[in-house]
């Protein structure tokens, strides 16, 4: 356990030094603040709780940005160190291969959690300061949105490490990371939508749709945050969520599984690798 913390600490130290932490926090805060003030303009003050609007906007922001940041942090983690020659030295130390991966995961997750909490927290804080009244329910939904954003980040960190252990060159890892991002964030949903349109209104079995949604972590995240409560009504996701048998615990479990499987796979491959 100590070794994992030592590695995590070094990753955070590096993240602070090369401005990764600063850049991601500022980016998330700037976009979150912009969305929360510009985004509320169309709704005006028609009784809708303003934080609920923010939750909808920030969830969409998360789906685009958090996987991208996570993949940028993680795709280089193993192959980059191997290429630069620092991995050889590290592995000659009394440390297990799995500890290297878990340590990096923990460090990167801490960076991501910090950036998300501060960035999104700034938006919520600004709303409070400008005098909006916010119901306790909305606060709860906001907190679970931030927490699940970090969980979505964990999923893509794990996928990034898997890419990083599988490939032999940094540039390949970078290309694959962008491909993964495009696939899960843009292409998958378009293809799913296209498929539903092509089915010409024929009822798709609920179970099949559930499985299709679980197969993409960003859809799992979307259902989790936009599927219920006020956010569901605002985003229009409530309709899908109502027909689906996917409850919040199932969705959280799906995201957790999406983290554990790629991370475990990466560990197994990395442990067998000869450097």
């Amino acid at each position: 356990m100590t070794n994992i913390l030592i590695i995590a600490r070094k990753e955070i130290q590096e993240g602070l030094r090369n401005r990764w932490v600063l850049a991601t926090t500022l980016l998330l805060a700037a976009l979150a603040l912009t969305l929360s003030f510009l985004g509320s303009a169309p709704t005006g003050n028609v009784g809708v709780n303003r934080l609920d609007v923010v939750i909808v906007s920030l969830s969409s922001l998360t789906i685009f940005l958090v996987p991208l940041i996570a993949l940028l942090l993680s795709h280089d983690a193993i192959v980059g160190e191997t290429e630069r020659g620092t991995m050889l030295l590290l592995l000659s130390y009394p440390i297990g291969r799995s500890e290297v991966i878990f340590g990096k995961f923990l460090g990167h997750l801490a960076i991501l959690a910090f950036a998300t909490a501060i960035g999104y927290g700034a938006a919520a804080g600004a709303l409070t300061v400008t005098g909006s009244e916010i119901a306790a329910d909305s606060w709860r939904a906001f907190l679970s949105m931030v927490a699940s954003s970090v969980l979505l980040g964990a999923v893509f960190l794990a996928i990034g490490y898997l890419t990083s252990t599988l490939v032999g060159e940094r540039s390949t890892a970078g290309g694959i990371a962008i491909g993964i991002w495009l696939f899960f964030v843009l292409i998958y949903d378009m293809a799913l939508l296209g498929g539903l349109v092509a089915a010409k209104g024929q009822a798709v079995p609920a179970l099949a749709l559930d499985l299709l949604l679980l197969a993409n972590p960003t859809d799992v995240y979307r259902l989790l945050n936009l599927g219920s409560g006020n956010a569901g009504a605002l985003s229009g996701m409530g309709g899908i969520a109502a027909h689906s048998g996917l409850t919040a615990p199932v969705l959280v479990a799906a995201l957790t599984l999406w983290t554990i499987v790629p991370l475990g796979w990466a560990t197994v491959i990395f442990s067998r690798r000869e450097v």
Partner: protein, 304 residues
């Protein structure tokens, strides 16, 4: 002498490439060993095998009584390694880098700090990012991390490449200290001359095969390389008359005569020559250089 590292019949194959073939040797405590060979001769592979980073295809390796590939971390705590062209995380300072490695080896940070002085890295340089370091400074930092935790076995892969002569001397002084403290030091190098007679023992590898193993004197004895004797006669005459052991003199236009003499004839021939000092104007005796010795062993190995 106690053995710290021993390999028995070790081979390593990467696909079709046979990187190391049937290598056996034993390294002892308090011994400095030079592992010499061309680039690609299998030196780095041997070091990686001793570190347990890769597993041998056949054969066994034991480091401090354990199989290094089994992942026994106690052994690695007593092992120091300096990779060829060492690199670090550029954004961190030298001190942060060394602290990181010290934590991994469970070494107190104060003793890590003391290493900066030992390798000759100034305190103000220790707080600068590694990005700003020169090659020599990086090499010193690399050496500092290898020395963490007073290792009993040090594996240094081409440690002096890129160091200026002053640094190199400083480096060899450090090695002498470590040897006195009873550590096994393995230095790899692609040239025998680099070692400046610092090693107790030399192991020469070529294309994955161990082709020589012994002290420099032993290797000289095995190689039986001739000593070159040069002489200038006091009176300009024909070829010198000394012919012990079938010595053949070659003259040059400047009046200098040279001959290659087998080691066992050397003393006797010199005795003959100096019997009448008045005949000699100048005399020089050149022992075979390390380069010649190295070339001899590599030549014996090349396919005919």
């Amino acid at each position: 002498m106690t053995a710290t590292v021993s390999t028995a019949g070790v081979s390593k194959r990467y696909g079709a490439v046979q990187a190391v073939k049937d290598v056996s040797f034993t390294l002892n405590a308090g011994e400095t060993i030079a592992l010499v060979g061309h680039n690609g001769a299998g030196k780095t592979t041997l070091i990686k095998l001793m570190l347990g980073l890769i597993r041998p295809t056949t054969g066994t390796i034991s480091v401090l009584g354990e199989d290094p590939a089994r992942g026994d971390f106690h052994v690695r705590q007593r092992l120091g390694y300096l990779p060829e062209s060492v690199s670090f995380h550029m954004a961190l300072t030298g001190r942060e880098t060394l602290s990181f490695y010290a934590r991994l080896k469970r070494v107190t940070l104060s003793s890590a700090d003391a290493l900066f002085e030992r390798v000759g890295l100034a305190q103000e340089a220790a707080d600068r990012p590694v990005r700003t370091y020169s090659k020599g400074m990086r090499q010193r930092l690399g050496l500092a991390q290898a020395l963490l935790g007073e290792p009993r076995v040090l594996l240094l892969d081409e440690p002096t490449s890129g160091l200026d002569p002053a640094l190199r001397r400083n480096f060899y002084d450090l090695i002498s200290d470590l040897r006195a403290a009873g550590a096994t030091v393995l230095l790899s190098s692609h040239a025998l001359t680099e070692l400046e007679d610092r090693a107790d023992r030399v192991i020469i590898v070529d294309r994955g095969i161990k082709i020589a193993d012994g002290t420099l004197d032993e290797l000289r004895g095995i190689a039986r390389l001739p000593t070159r004797i040069g002489v200038r006669l006091a009176d300009t005459g024909p070829t010198p008359g000394w012919t012990r052991g079938g010595t053949e003199w070659k003259g040059s236009a400047s009046g200098l005569f040279e001959a290659n003499v087998a080691p066992e004839d050397k003393i006797a021939l010199l005795h003959d020559m100096t019997a009448d000092p008045s005949r000699l104007a100048a005399l020089s005796v050149a022992e075979p250089t390390l380069d010649e010795l190295y070339a001899h062993f590599l030549k014996g190995q090349s396919p005919t």
